[in-house]
Symmetry: C2
Subunit: 336 residues, 2 copies
């Protein structure tokens, strides 16, 4: 059994903030990352919450991310905001970008935020969630080091490249939130199996000639299997075009790894689109979303994307989150 300790969201944010600052992150950069970490723990996505704080700190110290960076913002057209994250944390660039993006989307009806020279943005759905909370339909795309091969090929050309969409709801929470990668399974799961010396199921990864493998180490040297075959490659390419080519960020084929300390900053990108449904559909939008959500919720056992995180989030506000004690010990060691 894993030993846990229950922390309030404020405690999670504070602990994250202090650790990041102790590692050499500026307070301006540490705060958005600490807020996101608390929100990610609240959503129940422990793999990307406090467990990442020691990795972030290590990356500040080895120079994979510049903890003191200041994102450079511009608005070259009324509907486009660009942010050069200057090899700093994605979160600061996204927060600064959203301050311009949100009012621009309301004024123009649609607006985009293109971020380059960036870093792993954590849970993509956290960012689209905030666009939905601002009353906008939020679309997000983020690229990653190449790990998926094209159909018919065997050499990775795109990352597991997630996309996310969040639709505003009428009860203070998004009506629906999709956040999914283009691979069958997260690469971290294959890495975990490799560490534990366990075989992986067929369909998770391919060897370096594109054949199925159950050996996680062979899979890590080969490629990740795209979800649904060539259509998963298509979804990953959609994200690569938007998050990398369209932002001027580094393509997955050239990006340094997100894990480990080697290779310097990955300089990958994020692309967000915010849309004001009042401009495109007037009141029809809310009616449509409520109807669609109800058609899913009314079926016994049917899964509405975002419902799991939503339930965790509402519970965490009052009950806090049970955190792995070993994860906490690792962070607390950074503070002494």
């Amino acid at each position: 059994m894993i030993e846990t300790r229950t922390l309030s969201l404020a405690e999670i944010e504070d602990l994250s903030f202090r650790a990041l600052v102790a590692a050499g992150t500026s307070e301006e950069n540490a705060r958005p990352l600490a807020v996101a970490t608390a929100a990610t723990e609240a959503d129940g996505v422990a793999s990307h919450g406090l467990a990442y704080i020691s990795i972030y700190c290590e990356h500040v110290q080895c120079g994979k991310v510049d903890g003191q960076a200041r994102p450079v913002l511009a608005q070259p057209r009324p509907g486009v905001v660009t942010a050069d994250a200057a090899t700093g944390f994605a979160h600061s660039a996204i927060d600064a970008g959203f301050e311009i993006l949100i009012p621009a989307a309301r004024a123009q009806g649609i607006a985009a935020l293109a971020i380059r020279n960036s870093y792993n943005c954590g849970v993509l759905g956290y960012h689209t969630y905030r666009l939905a909370q601002a009353g906008l339909v939020g679309l997000g795309f983020t690229n990653a080091p190449a790990s998926i091969a094209p159909s018919g090929g065997s050499k990775p050309v795109v990352g597991t490249n997630p996309f996310s969409i969040a639709a505003p709801g009428t009860d203070g929470q998004p009506a629906l939130l999709i956040d999914q990668s283009a691979s069958t399974i997260a690469k971290s799961e294959v890495m975990k199996h490799a560490r534990e010396g366990r075989p992986i199921p067929v369909g998770w990864a391919l060897d370096d000639e594109g054949n199925p493998t159950t050996d996680p180490n062979v899979g890590l040297k080969g490629s990740m299997a795209p979800s649904g075959g060539y259509k998963g490659v298509g979804v990953a390419l959609l994200t690569e075009v938007l998050a990398a080519a369209l932002t001027g960020a580094t393509l997955g084929i050239h990006a340094s790894p997100f894990s480990g300390t080697a290779g310097g900053p990955p300089k990958t990108g994020q692309f967000f689109i915010a849309i004001d449904a009042n401009a495109t559909a007037d009141d029809a939008f809310s009616t449509g979303i409520v109807d669609l959500v109800e058609a899913i919720r009314s079926q016994d056992g049917a899964h509405l994307p975002g419902d799991g995180r939503r339930a965790n989030r509402l519970k965490a506000q009052t009950d806090g989150v049970a955190v792995n004690v070993a994860t906490l010990a690792k962070i607390e060691a950074l503070l002494t």
Copy 2:
């Protein structure tokens, strides 16, 4: 062996135009559909080319589509164009919308076209292709009558809902064009197997309790299998939110069938986003796309989405297209 006759693209357009007009379509509405039909045959997508002309004519005559409709356009915000297709053909509404969308995207950096009260738009990639030919990154989404069930459920809530992205190239053709539905296989393939009395492979469709089936008739009463399981449902929901909820169009759960003559107009929707890469990334966009495309093309046997259609298109300009004689006979019968 199927008997064919070779027609030039101009002949295909002319034949389509005359048939549509003879069925009661206005010249304004027939022309964009005839142009699209020729382009679709050029791309080698015969299933959605001339083979659809007799269906379109039948739908005009039974009132599933209003051949005389005039789309109503508006631009409520600088970056948003809306089109009420007035239960007419999608193509006229899209063409009229693009005339405002394209300059708006150049001026604003990004713009959207939201179409409601619409109809089957044919090959979605034909429309994003034209945005790429205008130098813009084109994204397209179109919804369809519900045929895919949510994960854990068994009742369809979303259609096979394709998305498309086309990226402008440097040689007069898109660098890359993705156009894919959210199901494992097109519903028309399952219908074809049903007509021919052949079993379908496991993984194409599910029965009305969500279990795999090899009986196409059972599958048609049940649901289409989403590509990659719950992630395919996620892609279909992305499209449903954009093409239906965000346009004020009819949701897939309420839409009348695209096939057959019953149920009146489907009133489904389309959503397009056009982005000017010069605004988001300056010159870096072309460099990135060329690099990405080369990483795929340089691998023996690797498939670059859009390359097949591109090769067909270039060949058809000079050689014309070999068309099924039975399809031609069906159309020519409409003209006598």
